[in-house]
């Protein structure tokens, strides 16, 4: 499938925050990342999507200096892969790692010092309040629930007000209220003009916050571009017929149809671009199958994602 990189040719002068070139990571029995090239511009909220094992966390691990790539390169702010770049990045990778015997406050002091901050008390108070952990600031990290740990990890990314955020599954372990809180914070940060890179499975959330995305599978880049471009891949319709099974069988042989998915007694069908649903209706009736319902379905990232994954 052709890889779209339309935003690269946009006529806006944009600053490239992250450039990944032909990245490859090979382990003993598997290739986690193969020939990955991605470009993230300043101010984008860039989603890294893919099923488990697609290489998202490996890629993030490499660009954050934790893993060594087998081949290929990456460059932050045009400054290569130097360690000092990481001081300008607020990153959350996999699980939150803190000192269990230290309090939330003391843990953040450690992070602040590592980032080279000399005055941090005011800032720590501010971000603890923002993630709703100020009341528990003196409690030891080991007493925290999963949601609280996740929120502290997010707080630690914000501590020196970096220009770039790299978040690996930021809503992991959060209840719906927590997810909404995180979403609000991410949107607020994005509005300040920061660049955010998010890796996630929760496509619904990605769609709500991201401006651009890259879709990975088995270590390879399937598609990249703005959310809008990715979503205009195809159209979706919900079809209903008395005999769903026969309908599904018939649709399987239609070249215009992408995937067929049963949802709540109806069939969600993706059609190629420029295909009019009435054409489908006509073809079906000529086969003796009559639809009892046909309606346009709102495009969303999940169905697009499934479509793209399936195609490849």
């Amino acid at each position: 499938m052709e890889i779209l990189k339309l935003d690269q040719f946009s006529d806006r002068m944009e600053e490239t925050i992250l450039e990944i070139s032909n990245l490859k990571k090979v382990y003993k029995d598997t290739t986690a990342v193969r020939n990955l090239s991605i470009s993230v511009q300043k101010g984008q909220v860039f989603g890294l999507l893919g099923p488990n094992g697609s290489g998202k966390t490996t890629t993030l691990g490499i660009i954050l200096g934790v893993l060594r790539q087998t081949s290929g390169s990456f460059s932050w702010f045009g400054n290569g892969d130097k360690d000092e770049n990481r001081k300008r990045i607020g990153a959350l990778l996999e699980t939150p790692n803190f000192y269990p015997y230290l309090s939330a406050w003391d843990n953040l002091v450690v992070v602040a010092k590592i980032k080279g901050m000399t005055e941090y008390d005011g800032r720590i108070e501010e971000i603890l309040k923002r993630v709703n952990l100020y009341e528990r600031r003196k409690s030891k990290f080991k007493t925290f629930s999963l949601g609280m740990k996740q929120r502290l990890a997010l707080a630690s990314t914000m501590i020196n007000d970096p220009d770039i955020y790299v978040l690996d599954e930021p809503t992991n372990g959060l209840d719906p209220e927590g997810i909404a809180e995180i979403r609000t914070i991410i949107l607020e940060i994005a509005k300040e003009g920061k660049t955010i890179i998010i890796a996630s499975h929760i496509l619904d959330e990605i769609e709500k916050v991201c401006t651009h995305a890259a879709i990975l599978r088995k270590g390879e880049l399937l598609q990249t571009g703005s959310i809008r471009e990715i979503l205009t891949q195809e159209r979706l319709v919900m079809l209903k017929a008395p005999d769903l099974r026969a309908l599904a069988e018939a649709l399987k042989n239609f070249p215009e149809c992408g995937f067929v998915k049963e949802e709540g007694g109806e069939l969600l069908v993706s059609l190629n671009e420029n295909v009019d649903p009435s054409e489908i209706n006509k073809k079906l009736s000529s086969q003796g199958i009559y639809l009892s319902g046909i309606k346009e379905h709102r495009k969303n990232l999940e169905s697009t994602f499934l479509e793209i994954i399936k195609d490849n």
């Binding site: 954050l64 200096g65 934790v66 893993l67 060594r68 360690d83 000092e84 990481r86 001081k87 990045i89 990153a91 990778l93 699980t95 790692n97 803190f98 000192y99 269990p100 015997y101 230290l102 003391d106 002091v109 450690v110 992070v111 010092k113 590592i114 980032k115 080279g116 630690s156």
Partner: protein, 275 residues
Amino acid sequence: MRQLLSIEYSKLKSLNAIKIILIIYMIIVPLFMYVASEFLYGILFPALKQPQPGVEPGTFVFNYPQIWEFPEMLKYTFYCASYFHVLVSLILVIIVSNEFSFRTAKQNIIDGMTKKQLIFSKLAILLFLSVFVTLYNCLLALVLGLINSDTVNLYENSHYIFVFFFQSFCYFSIALFFVTVIRHTAMSLVTVIVFPVVDFIAGKIVPPMIYVFFPLNIFSTLTPSPIRKEILQLEESQSKQKILELELWQLIGLSAAFVLILYFVSYISLKKRDL
């Protein structure tokens, strides 16, 4: 470097295990000095005064060393303290293995530390511990010597202060090596504790000429027992074999070489492996 020390201080100030182990150390060393002294004066020295088997009477003359008097006081203090280097090195093992098991070493890197800074931070802790034990034992020797001694002679054996500092650095480096390579908290602790025992047992099996060059033997010889020369002399007379005895500068050189190899291997291990 100051920044690294500041970071480590923030990490460790509420780790109570450190304070507890150091307090145990500060109590146990003077305790051991008194108990050992009782044993030496009560049993061992009188035994050595008697005619020894396999030795012609009159060829081996034993004079009681004045371990509680000033010139010998420092050496005796350091000798007793050197038995407990392993105890203090456990602190280093706990600190470093924690960073692996909490995955905070990885997090430090993500937050912006370089691998070199990570290594230097731990080295800084190691040096701090060496300074601590050296200063403490100097103080101890001073106080106990003033209590027990009539004459005050502070200068004669003072070069031993550096020797003891160097020796503690060596012992702690072995612990750092093991924990860097093994990473697992329990296994590292076990290895650091059992290693001296293995060395000791090996010493009973291996011929003396080879045992002279065993690393832990070299380290411990840096602070010899008060009656080491006499014991060696006795063993030589009994076995009719000359046992090689290394000079102080040779011991220091060999120790330094060994420790450098350890650091080299640790560094390679840290660089090659993922965190």
